[in-house]
């Protein structure tokens, strides 16, 4: 499930956090699912258990998972709705278009054009 780049400038714990968040948002890790235990994931990835533990604590404080006694880390965050998924891209598109001085009409026209192509 996880793929880690140890020599990356992004700390390993952050890579784990980002991958869990992505899977949760995309609905691949549904609410109620369990994350692997710290020990299991650390040994699977061949990384320090403290690193995994740190990632899990971060996910907990971001309310993505909850620590259930005797059970483990349970996914509590719901997957994103389609509009939420596109939100960052749409915001960026609109901001860039405004900066370039484009009209709404022009942008909508281009979106249509690209829609047909795809």
């Amino acid at each position: 499930m996880f793929s880690i780049q140890v020599h990356s400038g992004v700390p390993i714990y952050r890579q784990i956090v980002e991958q869990v968040v992505r899977s949760v948002d995309a609905g691949q890790l549904p609410t109620g699912d369990l994350l692997p235990s710290v020990r299991v994931l650390a040994s699977e990835l061949g990384v320090n258990p403290m690193t995994v533990s740190r990632a899990y604590s971060q996910l907990e404080s971001d309310s993505v998972v909850e620590r259930k006694r005797g059970v483990g880390m349970v996914v509590v965050r719901k997957p994103l709705k389609p509009q939420q998924h596109l939100q960052p891209v749409l915001e960026q598109l609109v901001a860039d278009a405004k900066q370039l001085g484009l009209s709404e009409k022009q942008v909508v026209q281009w979106v249509r054009q690209y829609w047909k192509r795809g």
């Binding site: 020599h7 952050r14 040994s43 990384v47 320090n48 258990p49």
Partner: protein, 308 residues
């Protein structure tokens, strides 16, 4: 400066406190301080001849410091009593003391020095690493000798394990196995581990903390993750004006808050900085009149920046 009181460091498996060590007129350690927390895994990094082996040999009590002191579990390391030595495992870079013995006999001999010796642990790793029991250590390949020396160092399940370049002569597969074994030991017996290595990806994989030995002192000791988040590498367009300015000794530190170091490498100007942000970027861009590109980098690049 006062000696630290016992209560402040008795919990630390290893505490090197302001150690100075000189060989002839060469100052190798010049006030190095390193304190390990129980259960931590720390990678010790330093350029060639930075003094990593001297630091390690002082820490385990094989060398006595000229100034300062090294403590194992709160007790001075040099001439430490057997009760303290029992809690420490040490794997030297070079391994000749037992070279004439067969592997099995060497393990047996070392095991007999200890009250508690975990035969099954040693046997498990000996089989996993395929170290032949009946071969003389001197007849093993260098990589296998290293594995044998590690086997001998872990049998008493030391709370503190110190390894000097343990993976240098292992092939990638053996290195991977070895690193897994280290992690297992760390989890199984909450072992504190210090290992020096020049292979930064191994350190990135297992060490939560890193210590950098540079110019006789530990110039950084802390979380590797934090270092990766705090320090960034800037790339300036190799504009002749920039290089001229730097060559003239125009101090980059004057223009860059959080400046660490800089390196001109052919056509590339690389600058390492701490706590970078957009405001600082604009400041630098205005000072030199070239675009600035910032990146988070891996340990190898960070190490270069911290020791340039």
């Amino acid at each position: 400066m006062m000696e630290p009181s016992n209560s402040t460091f008795h919990e630390n498996p290893l505490f090197v406190h302001k150690v100075r060590k000189q060989f002839g007129d060469q100052m190798v350690l010049d006030g190095a301080t390193l304190r390990l927390q129980p259960g931590s895994i720390t990678g010790l990094l330093g350029r060639n001849a930075a003094g990593k082996t001297t630091l390690i040999r002082t820490a385990v009590g094989l060398l006595s410091p000229d100034h300062g002191n090294a403590y194992l579990f709160g007790t001075p390391a040099f001439n430490a009593p057997a009760s303290i030595r029992q809690r420490v495992g040490y794997v030297a870079q070079k391994f000749d003391d037992l070279a004439h013995l067969r592997v099995g006999d060497a393990i047996e001999l070392v095991g007999s020095f200890y009250d508690r010796w975990d035969h099954s642990l040693v046997e498990r790793f000996r089989r996993e690493w395929q170290v032949p029991e009946s071969k003389r250590i001197s007849k093993l390949s260098h990589g296998q000798q290293q594995k044998a020396s590690i086997l001998i160092a872990i049998g008493h399940r030391p709370e503190l394990l110190i390894l000097d370049e343990p993976v240098a002569s292992l092939d990638p597969v053996a290195r991977h196995d070895f690193i897994r074994a280290l992690l297992e030991l760390n989890v199984e017996i909450n072992q504190t581990i210090l290992f020096s290595s020049h292979i930064t990806t191994d350190i990135e994989r297992v060490a939560a903390d890193i210590a950098i030995l540079h110019q006789g002192i530990i110039s950084y000791h802390g979380s590797l993750d934090q270092l990766k988040e705090q320090v960034q590498c800037l790339y300036l367009r190799p504009d002749s004006k920039v290089i001229q300015q730097i060559d003239r000794g125009d101090n980059l530190a004057r223009h860059v808050e959080g400046y660490i170091s800089c390196r001109i490498d052919g056509q590339r100007v690389q600058v390492w900085v701490r706590d970078w942000d957009d405001e600082k970027r604009d400041q630098l861009r205005d000072a030199f009149g070239v675009p600035v590109h910032a990146e988070h980098v891996g340990l190898e690049d960070l190490f270069m920046g911290m020791t340039s």
